[in-house]
C-alpha cells in the first residue's frame, strides 16, 4: 500500500497492464514524449517504446476508428482523448461501430477497447475543457461507462476495463488527478465494473453519486452529521451498467434519495437513477427524489464568477439534503 494521487493510480494501472499483456497499447494525442497534457502517461513511452505508446494525428474519430480496427484484430487498445469535450468527432465510431459490433456480428467480433478521457469543470477551462459527457454514452447499449472517484478504484477499474472484452468509456475528473489521494495497493488487483459501493453508512437519506462529486457528497454528509442528519453515500463507480441492487438497498433503508452529478440536469444519469428508484423503491420513499446537478447551460463558462455560480458543490448538496430531511 502506498498513498497516491489519482493521476498516479491511473498511470500505475496503465503501466501494469502494458507490462502484463503485449496486446495492450496506448494511442492518443501528446501521450508520447509529452506524457499527455495532464501527464497521465508520463514515462510510459520511455518504458514501453513507440509501438506501445502511439502518438496519433489530431483526429479523434481516426484514432478511435484505428483502435476499433486494432481491437477487432486481436489487440487491446487504450485511447486517450485529450479532453472529454473533444470526444464528439469520435461519437459515430463509438456508438455506430464499437458499441454494436458484438451484437451486429452475432457474437463473432468483440471490441476490447478502453477510451479514457478527463472530464469535469472547476479548472477554469471554459466551455470546451469542462464538460461531463457520460450521459451521452450511458444511453448506448453495448458500452460500459466508468467514472472512478478514488485512486484505488481508478487503478482497479482501469485494469478491469482493459481486460474487458467490451468497449469501455473511462472518465477521470481532471480536478481529481492531483487533489484526490488515497491508498493504492502495489501490484495487481481489479475492481469489478458494474458494482457500486457504499462510501459512508447513514440512516436518513441516500446521496447517490459518482466521480469527483462523491467527495462533495462525503463533505456534505459530514456537515449534515453535525446537524443530526445521517446520510449514506453511494458511489456508483459505473454509470452503465448501473448497480441497481446497491442503490435500491440504500434507498429502501433510508427512504430518501438525492442524486448528485456535475453533468447538467436534463437527460443526465440522475434521471435514470430516479426512475429506477421510483419504480422499485416507491413504497419505501418518504420524500420525492431530489437531484443536484449543473443547470442546463452549455457547460461551464470561463470567468471564475460565472463558473462558480454554476458548479454544483458541497453547499448545494447540503441545502438539498436539508430540504429532503425536513420533508
Amino acid at each position: 500500500m502506498s498513498e497516491m494521487r489519482l493521476i498516479e493510480a491511473v498511470r500505475d494501472g496503465l503501466r501494469e497492464e502494458l507490462a502484463a499483456n503485449a496486446d495492450v497499447f496506448l494511442i492518443g494525442q501528446d501521450i508520447g514524449v509529452n506524457g499527455g497534457v495532464f501527464r497521465v502517461t508520463e514515462g510510459l513511452i520511455e518504458e514501453f517504446g513507440p509501438n506501445r505508446v502511439i502518438d496519433s494525428p489530431l483526429a479523434e474519430s481516426g484514432m478511435v476508428g484505428v483502435a476499433i480496427g486494432a481491437a477487432m484484430n486481436g489487440l487491446r487498445p487504450v485511447v486517450e482523448i485529450q479532453f472529454a469535450d473533444f470526444i464528439f468527432p469520435a461519437f459515430n465510431q463509438v456508438v455506430s461501430e464499437a458499441a454494436r459490433m458484438y451484437y451486429r456480428t452475432n457474437g463473432e467480433y468483440s471490441v476490447p477497447l478502453v477510451i479514457r478521457a478527463p472530464y469535469g469543470g472547476g479548472v477554469r477551462g471554459g466551455l470546451y475543457h469542462s464538460q461531463s459527457v457520460e450521459a451521452y454514452f450511458a444511453h448506448v447499449p453495448g458500452l460500459k461507462v466508468v467514472v472512478p472517484s478514488s485512486p484505488y478504484d481508478a487503478k482497479g477499474l482501469l485494469k478491469a476495463a482493459i481486460r474487458d472484452d467490451n468497449p469501455v468509456l473511462f472518465f477521470e475528473h481532471k480536478l481529481s488527478y492531483n487533489t484526490v489521494q488515497g491508498e493504492v495497493p502495489e501490484g495487481d488487483y481489479t475492481v469489478p465494473i458494474g458494482e457500486a459501493v457504499v462510501r459512508r453508512e447513514g440512516q436518513q437519506l441516500s446521496l447517490i453519486s459518482y466521480g469527483l462529486s462523491v467527495h462533495h457528497c462525503l463533505e456534505a454528509a459530514e456537515t449534515l452529521s453535525a446537524e443530526g442528519i445521517s446520510c449514506e453515500v453511494v458511489d456508483l463507480r459505473t454509470v452503465r451498467p448501473l448497480d441497481t441492487a446497491t442503490l435500491l438497498e440504500s434507498v429502501r433503508k433510508t427512504g430518501r434519495a438525492c442524486i448528485v452529478h456535475e453533468d447538467n440536469l436534463t437527460g443526465g444519469v440522475g434521471g435514470e437513477v430516479a426512475a429506477i428508484i421510483a419504480k422499485d423503491a416507491f413504497e419505501y420513499l418518504d420524500a420525492p427524489v431530489q437531484r443536484v446537478a449543473a443547470p442546463d447551460v452549455p457547460s461551464f463558462p470561463y470567468s471564475p464568477t460565472l463558473e462558480d455560480a454554476l458548479l454544483p458543490g458541497t453547499p448545494d448538496i447540503v441545502w438539498a439534503a436539508r430540504q429532503l430531511a425536513a420533508y
Binding site: 509501438n51 496519433s56 474519430s61 484514432m63 476499433i68 477487432m72 489487440l75 461501430e97 458484438y102 467480433y109
Partner: protein
C-alpha cells in the same frame, strides 16, 4: 485465331490462363447473385439489395491480388465480388440476403449485403459509410505491431471519400506506413449525387499525394488493369513500404439500392450508354479472342453458376429464421 496480344497482356499483368478463368467465373457469379437478388426484392422474398452490376471486374480482380488465406478485407455493401473471391459461398450470401439464423455475416441482425465473416478475415461493416477506413488502418496497425506480413484492403465508394474518416484513416496509415490498400470504387454516383458534387477534383486518387503515399487510377472495367495495380499496391504494403490508394473507375448499371429509383436523377440514355461498357461481355470477348475461353465452355460455366445460385436461394429460403427469443442476446461480450 487467338490474339497473341491478349496472351501477352495477361502475362504482363502477372496472371495465367487459370487465373483469368477464375476471375471470369467469380465475375459471372457476382453478377448472377446481384441480378437474382434484385429479382427476389421485386418478388418481395428479400427485403433489400445493393446491386454490384458493373463493378465485378474491379471487386473480383482486386480481391484476387490478395492472399485469400491470410490477408484481410474491410468491405462495403457493393463488395460482393470481393466476398466471393475471399471465400464466401453462394449459400452464405443467400443466407445473408434472406436474413436467416445461419447467416455468418450477422445471423440476420444486419440488412442484406452488410458483410462480415471473421473466419474468412472479412471485417464487419455497418451502414455508416467511411467509418471502415480508419478501422482498416487499425486492422493493419495490429498486423504490423505483431510483425505479421498481412495486408488489409478496405473498399469504399467515392461518396465515402467525402467523409472525414477517409482523411483521418489515410493520414494515420501514411504516418505509420501501414500495410493497407485503400480501394475506392469510383462509379460516379453516391446514391443520386454525382462525383462532381462530391469534390471539385473528381479524381480521388490524387488525394494520396496529400498523405505521402502513391495514388493510382485504373480502368475498373478491365480486370487485368485492376489486378496489376492492386497487386503492385499489395506487394508494396507487404514489403513494408506503406499504403496505396487505388481508384477504380467503374459504372453503376443499377440503382443505388432496391429502395432507389435512378431515373429520378439519371436519364435512360445515360444508363443505356453505360450498359454498353458492361465489364462482363468485354472480358468474355477478351478471353475468347485470346483463346482462353470458347463459346461452349462459357455456356457451361454460366449454366453452372446459375444452378449454384438457384440452389443457394432454395437452401437459404428454406433455412431457419433467427429465434425471436435471441433478439436480446449478445449486447455485451461475456
Amino acid at each position: 485465331m487467338p490474339d497473341n496480344g491478349g496472351i501477352d497482356r495477361l502475362r504482363d499483368s502477372g496472371l495465367d490462363a487459370n487465373d483469368a478463368q477464375q476471375i471470369y467465373r467469380h465475375m459471372l457469379l457476382a453478377r448472377a447473385i446481384s441480378e437474382k437478388s434484385w429479382l427476389l426484392t421485386r418478388q418481395g422474398r428479400v427485403l433489400f439489395s445493393m446491386p454490384c452490376d458493373g463493378q465485378e471486374a474491379a471487386d473480383v480482380a482486386s480481391a484476387y491480388a490478395l492472399n485469400s488465406q491470410t490477408d484481410f478485407i474491410v468491405p462495403y455493401a457493393r463488395s460482393l465480388g470481393a466476398m466471393l473471391v475471399k471465400g464466401m459461398t453462394s449459400q452464405e450470401v443467400m443466407l445473408n440476403m434472406f436474413g436467416k439464423a445461419a447467416d455468418p455475416n450477422s445471423g440476420g441482425r444486419q440488412m442484406p449485403m452488410h458483410w462480415g465473416h471473421k473466419k474468412l478475415g472479412i471485417f464487419s461493416m455497418g451502414s455508416s459509410v467511411g467509418t471502415t477506413i480508419p478501422r482498416a488502418s487499425g486492422v493493419a496497425l495490429a498486423s504490423k505491431l505483431r510483425g505479421e506480413k498481412t495486408v488489409t484492403m478496405v473498399y469504399f465508394g467515392e461518396g465515402s471519400a467525402s467523409e472525414g474518416d477517409f482523411h483521418e484513416g489515410l493520414a494515420f496509415a501514411g504516418v505509420y506506413r501501414l500495410p493497407v490498400v485503400f480501394l475506392c470504387n469510383n462509379n460516379g454516383w453516391a446514391t443520386s449525387v454525382p462525383v462532381e458534387l462530391q469534390s471539385a477534383e473528381p479524381q480521388i486518387a490524387k488525394r494520396a499525394q496529400g498523405y505521402g503515399f502513391p495514388g493510382v487510377t485504373v480502368d475498373g472495367l478491365d480486370p487485368l488493369a485492376v489486378y496489376q495495380a492492386v497487386r503492385t499496391a499489395v506487394d508494396r504494403a507487404r514489403s513494408g513500404e506503406g499504403p496505396t490508394l487505388v481508384e477504380t473507375n467503374t459504372i453503376r448499371m443499377m440503382p443505388h439500392s432496391s429502395s432507389d429509383d435512378h431515373l429520378r436523377y439519371r436519364t435512360q440514355e445515360d444508363l443505356d450508354a453505360e450498359r454498353e461498357l458492361d465489364p462482363l461481355p468485354r472480358f468474355r470477348d477478351f478471353l475468347v479472342s485470346s483463346g482462353l475461353l470458347d463459346e461452349e465452355s462459357d455456356q457451361t460455366m454460366r449454366e453452372a453458376v446459375d444452378q449454384e445460385v438457384e440452389e443457394a436461394i432454395s437452401y437459404a429460403d428454406a433455412a431457419s429464421s433467427p429465434d425471436p427469443t435471441t433478439a436480446l442476446d449478445g449486447v455485451y461480450a461475456p
